[in-house]
């Protein structure tokens, strides 16, 4: 039983990072209609940046926060390149993000090399109800929940959030109101970058990252995002948790090498299910 609870705790923790990545996908997709293939890259860069800052003697907490801010700035740059001129079709932007993801390999390898890195997260264990779990797990879940609430507040309660939602709801109407859809898209990319960076910063102490870790991270995040049809953050968040727990169980009771296969299978099943649901209503 305790073993089960430990797997569950580990699953919720990694699931929370998937949820953060997923929410990044959702924010960007909702506002711009672009599936950002570079979403996993933000996590990798977040991990590497925090690592370098810690190496340079920056204190824990500050280093991770700075890394998240820098990935948000990188998100903005990715948005600038991907969205290009006003009116660029989302499919063209999608291809650009794919190109940027591959380009990031070169950047990471020349800057940090091709070996995996990691750093100490919160050390020690915390006993909750007889289950001892790593403090890092608690930090991850806490950070994810706080971030999620902050986003819910931004989108649900602020005028800016309303404008972002307007862009995703009806671009034409949003433009008629005078909302600059292109700029809102850049903002979404910055938020998405920060969310990816946060996931990476939290995940790196648990799972070392290397230049091409973005694929695994993005696959999990995308699978979680698909739960909510790429547009609903709450469902994406739940999706992340479900996926994290499922993978932790498979890894714990069976084999860890099946983790990604599980994520892919779940994603495929969901896409097929959604496609079959959508097909009759279209056309």
């Amino acid at each position: 039983m305790t073993l089960f609870l430990q797997y569950l705790a580990a699953g919720i923790a990694s699931g929370s990072t998937f949820a953060l990545v997923a929410t990044g996908f959702v924010v960007i997709y909702r506002v711009t209609g672009v599936i950002n293939f570079a979403q996993g890259v933000f996590a990798v860069l977040g991990g590497f940046l925090a690592y370098s800052l810690l190496q340079a003697g920056v204190a824990h907490g500050l280093a991770e926060s700075l890394a998240v801010l820098i990935t948000a700035a990188i998100g903005l740059v990715v948005g600038l390149v991907a969205l290009g001129r006003r009116g660029t079709p989302p499919l063209a932007s999608l291809i650009v993000t794919l190109g940027l993801a591959i380009f990031s390999y070169a950047v990471v390898i020349t800057t940090w090399g091709d070996h995996p890195i990691s750093y100490e997260g919160l050390s020690g264990l915390l006993a909750i109800g007889g289950v001892s779990m790593q403090r890092q797990y608690v930090l991850i879940v806490g950070a994810a929940v706080v971030t999620f609430l902050a986003l819910a507040l931004l989108f649900g309660r602020t005028y800016l959030g309303m404008a972002l939602t307007a862009c995703s709801s009806d671009q034409r109407a949003a433009r008629l109101m005078g909302i600059d859809v292109w700029r809102m898209g850049l903002l979404a990319f910055a938020v998405g970058g920060g969310l990816g960076g946060l996931a990476g910063v939290l995940l790196t102490p648990l799972q070392p990252v290397q230049f091409d870790s973005d694929v695994g991270i993005a696959v999990n995040g995308f699978a979680a995002a698909i739960f909510g049809g790429l547009v609903r953050p709450v469902t994406a968040f739940a999706g992340g948790l479900v996926l994290g727990v499922a993978e932790a169980m498979v890894a714990g009771y069976y084999r860890s090498s099946y983790e990604t296969a599980i994520a892919l299978a779940v994603m495929l099943a969901l896409m097929l299910w959604q496609a079959s649901r959508r097909a009759p209503s279209e056309e």
């Binding site: 005028y159 309303m162 939602t165 009806d170 034409r172 109407a173 008629l176 109101m177 005078g178």
Partner: protein
């Protein structure tokens, strides 16, 4: 158009293309301050394109647009943000201006007060059109462009909305450019009209004159006009 004063909106020799297709081909149009002008024409004539170009959504291939004031558009099909509340829809209409108070819109459409917390997508078409007009008014326009006011609405609701527009025009001097399938309605409430066909202005003049033109009667008024 009133003599002497510069018009609020002037469109000169406007050409708009979608790829190889020419949607507007040398359109001239003007709306004076506090004027109500109708724009009528068959499906695909370019009415929406003209409004979108004036609104800055579509870039013209050639021609000139001079707008001496603020413009807000009530788009064809209303296009509310369906999952947002009525009030949030209204508030978003004020994106360009400082003042986001919704009070004046509720004064104009008291019925919206009780709907304020409802999701816009759950309203009837008539109610949605009220919200769409209200949302445009939140932008404090000098010129209100309405694309297909009557589309899909019951005649009674159309009459009420038309009265509201006339009232706005009379009381606050707001200019109105009304695109309508229902040419009879448009000619009734506007003092001047343009008839657009295949991207060109085919006819223009005072509503009275167009109403009596046999060509307009045959094409848009379903035969002889009975006052």
């Amino acid at each position: 158009m009133p003599e002497g004063s510069e018009p609020l909106l002037e469109v000169h020799d406007l050409v708009v293309r979608y790829g190889a297709a020419t949607a507007l081909d040398g359109v001239d149009l003007a709306v004076g301050r506090a004027e109500m002008v109708a724009l009528v024409g068959p499906n695909g004539a370019g009415k929406t394109t003209l409004l979108d170009t004036v609104s800055g959504l579509v870039a013209p291939a050639a021609g000139r647009i001079e707008l001496r004031g603020r413009l807000a558009q009530v788009p064809e099909g209303r296009r509310l943000f369906p999952e947002m509340t009525v009030e949030d829809n209204l508030r978003l209409g004020a994106w360009r201006v400082r003042d986001r108070r919704v009070g004046p819109v509720y004064e104009l459409f008291p019925h919206l007060v009780e709907l304020r917390r409802r999701k816009a997508g759950s309203l009837s078409c008539g109610e949605q059109q009220m919200v769409a007009v209200g949302r445009a008014l939140m932008g404090q326009p000098d010129l209100l462009a309405v694309d297909e006011l009557s589309l899909g609405l019951a005649p009674q609701i159309v009459d009420t909305l038309a009265e509201h527009l006339q009232d706005l025009n009379r009381r606050s001097g707001m200019a109105i450019l009304l695109v309508e399938q229902n040419a009879r309605l448009a000619l009734d409430i506007c003092s001047r009209a343009y008839v657009i066909e295949a991207g060109r202005i085919a006819l223009t003049g005072p509503s009275e004159q167009l109403r009596n033109s046999p060509a307009v009667q045959a094409a848009y008024l379903g035969g002889a006009y009975e006052a």
